[in-house]
Symmetry: C2
Subunit: 273 residues, 2 copies
């Protein structure tokens, strides 16, 4: 397959959460074109098995390759945890996952080597952050906490709300007891709760937003492979969005968080890939 | 297809919630055998489109027919709302849905003809309860309220909890303002929150549990079709469970709520049907 610098980057997630990663790519790599796929028919991934997530990810990669992308960003923590290793081996273009990027920065930032991670049941249960962090520095201790209510709270829009604060207080209490000094926001929805988390944890705990770190990692990987887009930003349709269900609802959410007017979201049948 | 009284009843749901319906069938129709399918790979259905839910339901019905069931119970409110009408036309055996059964009883119970319904976004957005209730009595006014956080709260096990009480108070406030005297628990997880809802609404509001009403409706339909099992209860494997993912987790939850020791849950590939 012929790949050039002008080709788009493929970004995928189980739904809308990965748009926080797409947003950071738009901000930090404005010359890059993006093909985004949100698996809205099969969301959420957080409570599904590894085997299922690998199957879903293979289908999505197949679809993105058909769109002739030059690199793939796995903007979903569960898919990064369960499928990235397998897919990387099957792929002839670079692939970047949200977990590795966040873990590397957390390992650099911690002073007391006690790092907390919050995420879905699937991500936390996989132990994948621990694995990456231990590779960076075997002396690091990792405290994971699954927070299954947070995605629903974000999607309800209860971002500044006493109920959300109370739920966060409970989820974060055991991490505070462990005296973590760094917390990885291990689910793409969580950056939207950053100020609430900041209020509870105070300024002493460094919050790592893997969406931002992933955009920086993507730039590095594209540079290393001679794939960084040097063109202008004046593409007519630099960003294209595909979903497996509910295109209209997706577009509405996308428009509320992206620095870009999303005009076209197309529904595809991902089971055919 | 040859169908007899001895054949099992097929029951399906998007996941574990439909077990509250299976439980009522076990209690009220103890001679009936059950084949249960929980679509745990594609749960939840509540935020998916009508088109997708019809496709999923057709696949499941196909699977259940292969198990030679004599009747089908749609134990999922979203699937009942979106797919029951379509599937009923394609089917040569009786089919019963949770929504119709609950609506009929609510229409009988209300005195002031003001009925509330709580459920997922999909169920409430479909307006299906309103449709059924208006058929029963055009003078009834229906107040629907989507409660997206409740399923996660139940699955967290926060059944008696100040956070759950506060979330319920918010969701129920507008129904109380409308002075409903009857409330349909329009999601199969909600019967597990019944005592919390009772505390908030008091004894004046009648709570309708469609799981129970569906078991009674099933008995009626089987009788009418000469399909009621007259046999003994001494079957070796009267209840069989199938899921599309995470069989072990499902079995654990099933054992916690069923009056029966669930020994075997089998994972199948529902996309092949």
């Amino acid at each position: 397959m012929q790949i050039d610098r002008e080709a788009p980057v493929g970004v995928f997630d189980s739904g809308v959460g990965g748009l926080t990663v797409a947003r950071e790519i738009m901000r930090n790599l404005p010359a890059e074109k993006i093909v985004y796929f949100g698996d809205t028919a099969r969301v959420p991934y957080g409570n599904k098995s590894k085997e299922t997530i690998i199957r879903y990810s293979r289908q999505i990669v197949h679809f993105l390759k058909e769109q002739r992308v030059k690199a793939i960003v796995v903007a979903c923590n569960t898919a990064s945890a369960f499928a990235l290793d397998t897919i990387e081996k099957e792929l002839d273009i670079p692939i970047v996952g949200v977990i590795e990027a966040g873990a590397r920065v957390a390992a650099q930032e911690t002073r007391n080597k006690r790092i907390g991670v919050i995420g879905t049941e699937g991500t936390i249960g996989s132990g994948i952050h621990r694995e990456y962090l231990k590779q960076q520095d075997p002396e690091i201790t990792v405290f994971g906490k699954a927070c299954p209510l947070l995605v629903s709270l974000v999607e309800e829009g209860w971002l500044k709300d006493p109920v959300t604060d109370e739920v966060l207080r409970r989820y974060l209490a055991e991490l505070q007891e462990q005296q973590i000094d760094t917390l990885i926001l291990g689910c793409t929805h969580y950056p939207l709760l950053r100020s609430a988390i900041r209020r509870i944890l105070g300024d002493e705990v460094r919050l790592v937003n893997p969406a931002y770190e992933t955009a920086l990692e993507l730039r590095k990987v594209l540079e290393e492979n001679g794939l960084l887009d040097l063109g202008s930003e004046n593409e007519e349709f630099p960003y294209r969005f595909y979903v497996s269900d509910l295109a209209e609802k997706f577009q509405h959410f996308a428009n509320s968080i992206l620095p870009y007017d999303v005009k076209m979201t197309k529904k595809i049948d991902i089971e055919k890939y």
